[in-house]
């Protein structure tokens, strides 16, 4: 009875916003289910796009067939295609952070510190007033995760290490483009030149420096991941802001996760992560949201300008 009464008290507009978010979630869920169902076909899309890029590069004088450059171009393409998603995520994260720093919200938090239900209602009201969708910041992440899985597997498939994996690659290559471009046939594309700069992209990378085998690419991935987290994390002045605490934790754990992945997989995937990190920072910079002061000692204590809507 009490629950029914509480349900009637929920703001219809806020409920509408929630429903819209839920629909988005269901839509993404259906999309993910489709991807899982046709997983091999999903990977084949990435395999073929990278192969076409690789083949296209082979016609450019002084560059030739470079799988490393194909990975870099593919990463740029992925970033361009997912730009709207990433942009939405960035804006949403920024808006939520601004809300955390907003005096009105901080006052509400103090006022309803012991009434969580009322606090939630007020939070929904502010979300609605400011056009914030809490789902918008995590939906892109949900979509990007299978993308990562697929790219890792596509990179493995494209650099076969045994007859069985070569057979898998051969079966992933589309046959219809070779009718128009004979160079895109599996016969012409195989073998793929896995060497790029000093690296063999089909293996984890180690560089001999002063007699020591140093995983240079892995270190670069770790450093750029740290910079990415630092530069793109908005500063919070709200002591009750739990998301800021989580951001601080993420700025340490995420680079560690990237280092772990870069060292576990082939250097081809590490190159993808490195390029992706740099592009992410560039995208933030283009949107004017990079927080360079975060790199300075004590920089994260400074309060950024809060835009009022």
């Amino acid at each position: 009875m009490t629950n029914m009464k509480q349900a009637r008290n929920v703001d219809p507009a806020a409920l509408q916003g929630m429903t819209s978010g839920m629909f988005k979630f269901v839509g993404v869920g259906v999309l993910l289910a489709l991807i899982v169902w046709r997983w091999n076909d999903f990977i084949a899309i990435f395999v073929n796009i990278m192969l076409w890029t690789y083949h296209g590069l082979s016609h450019i004088p002084f560059i030739g067939a470079s799988f490393g450059l194909a990975i870099i171009l593919f990463t740029i393409l992925t970033r361009v295609v997912t730009w709207p998603l990433a942009s939405q995520q960035m804006k949403s994260t920024q808006a939520m952070q601004e809300m955390q720093n907003d005096k009105e919200w901080q006052d509400i938090q103090k006022k309803y510190a012991k009434d969580r239900e009322k606090l939630a209602q007020e939070q929904m009201r502010i979300y609605k007033e400011r056009g914030i969708s809490p789902f918008s910041s995590c939906l892109p992440m949900l979509i990007q995760l299978p993308l990562w899985f697929a790219i890792i597997q596509a990179l493995y498939r494209m650099l076969p290490t045994s007859p069985l994996s070569l057979l898998q690659l051969a079966r992933s290559i589309y046959t219809w483009p070779e009718k128009f471009f004979p160079g895109l046939s599996a016969t012409s594309l195989i073998p793929i030149n896995s060497h790029f700069l000093w690296m063999d992209l089909s293996r984890p990378e180690y560089t001999l420096i002063l007699g020591f085998s140093i995983p240079l690419l892995v270190i670069l991935v770790g450093v750029t991941s740290y910079f990415q987290m630092k530069l793109t994390t908005p500063v919070s002045t709200n002591p009750n802001d739990q998301s800021a605490q989580m951001s601080r934790t993420m700025s340490v754990t995420m680079p560690l996760m990237y280092i772990f992945m870069a060292s576990s997989f082939t250097s081809g995937f590490a190159l993808y992560l490195l390029t992706s990190n740099l592009l992410y920072i560039a995208q933030y910079a283009m949107m004017g949201k990079v927080n360079w002061s975060n790199l300075l000692p004590g920089g994260s204590q400074k309060t950024p300008p809060i835009r009022k809507r």
């Binding site: 990179l155 045994s162 007859p163 069985l164 070569l166 195989i190 739990q242 934790t249 993420m250 754990t253």
Partner: protein, 356 residues
């Protein structure tokens, strides 16, 4: 608490991603060989010796499962010893006593990349083609490297010889003829596509036959490298062609079998198709040829292309079957056994390994 949950979530994601993509070992179909007593099959991280008499295990090498990956066909050298190459983390070839599975050499022959092709023994020298594109010549008695020669892209095809030259096909579309006397390339010819199957040398040593992903089988003059003929195939030719008198048998990934005249390359079997794609080499039998398919079956044909018999083995067969005595050995993948022995007279399965 929330930090702990977040950290756990990130760690779980990292582990999931690792499990999704990382492979510490190379995975492929098994390698297979046999002598009069045992079948030797390289599967995963170990090489097994299985008694032909009853299908029981004689020995296993190495004793413990590791990150080594044995996928190339073991080779029984003229001195009776067994050569096995690994494609895992150590990339070594070693010589084993076929009776006990004990190592013969003080140290294995180690390269910086995988051994996918099985080695060739000529006299007291073994020739091994590595994934790094180099051909290694080593002393058969000790495993010490005599010389190496960089040829091209990855070498996944086993070397063959006519006694004068060593023939190695490469993924870079080339068939190389190497003169061991000069340790240099005598000639090379473009096959039109990568080649995984070993080049087949004619009985008189004058001609080399090689199938390729160029959808053809080529006959090449062994002395000069001049192409004598090309026979078109419907799709990629994976396995090495098999010669029987004036006929050359080959099969392709579309599932077609070809019977080519060795002098002209014309196909006498216009439309012989077993039940699936074929990567294994044809196996010559006293009364015809045996074909193994990815669908898990074996088909025997007489010399006119008429099917004599067939048998469903199970799993997926990519490895070339081996005949020894009155047994035909089959090593399928994705079956509930790793090795099956088929009686070549009764066409029935005699035993399966491991035994149930």
């Amino acid at each position: 608490m929330k930090r702990l949950a977040l950290f756990s979530l990130i760690a779980l994601t990292a582990v999931a991603l690792s499990a999704c993509g990382a492979r510490s070992t190379v995975i492929s179909w098994p390698g297979l060989a046999a002598d009069a007593n045992n079948a030797y099959f390289a599967n995963g991280s170990q090489v097994h010796a299985v008694r032909l008499s009853d299908g029981t295990q004689s020995w296993i090498y190495p004793d413990k499962v590791s990150t080594h990956a044995y996928i190339s066909n073991p080779v029984i050298a003229p001195d009776g010893r067994l050569l096995v190459g690994s494609a895992g983390t150590d990339n070594s070839i070693t010589s084993l006593d076929p009776a006990t599975g004990k190592e013969n050499w003080a140290a294995p022959l180690v390269a910086d990349s995988h051994w996918i092709a099985s080695p060739l023994v000529v006299g007291d020298t073994l020739y091994a083609a590595n994934n790094n594109g180099s051909l290694y010549a080593a002393d058969l008695a000790t495993g010490q490297i005599k010389w190496t020669l960089k040829l091209g892209n990855s070498l996944w095809s086993a070397p063959t010889s006519n006694g004068k030259l060593i023939f190695v096909a490469s993924l870079d579309h080339m068939l190389y003829a190497v003169d061991p006397a000069t340790q240099a390339v005598a000639w090379k010819v473009d096959l039109g596509g990568s080649s995984l199957g070993a080049a087949t040398v004619s009985a008189d040593g004058s001609t080399v036959y090689a199938g390729s992903f160029g959808k053809k089988v080529a006959a090449i003059d062994a002395a000069t490298g001049a192409v004598r003929w090309n026979a078109a195939a419907a799709d990629w030719v994976w396995g090495a062609p098999a010669q029987d008198g004036d006929t050359l048998y080959a099969a392709d990934i579309s599932g077609r079998v070809y019977s080519l005249g060795t002098t002209h390359g014309k196909n006498a079997w216009p439309d012989v198709r077993p039940d699936g794609p074929i990567t294994a080499s044809p196996l010559m039998l006293p009364d015809g040829v045996l074909i193994a398919t990815e669908s898990g079956s074996i088909f025997a044909y007489d010399r006119t292309g008429v099917e004599s018999w067939n048998l469903s083995i199970g799993g997926q067969i990519y490895t070339t079957p081996v005949a020894t005595g009155d047994l035909i050995l089959i090593a399928p993948m994705k079956a509930d056994f790793q090795l099956a022995a088929v009686n070549s007279t009764t066409h029935s399965i005699v035993w399966k390994f491991p035994l149930k």
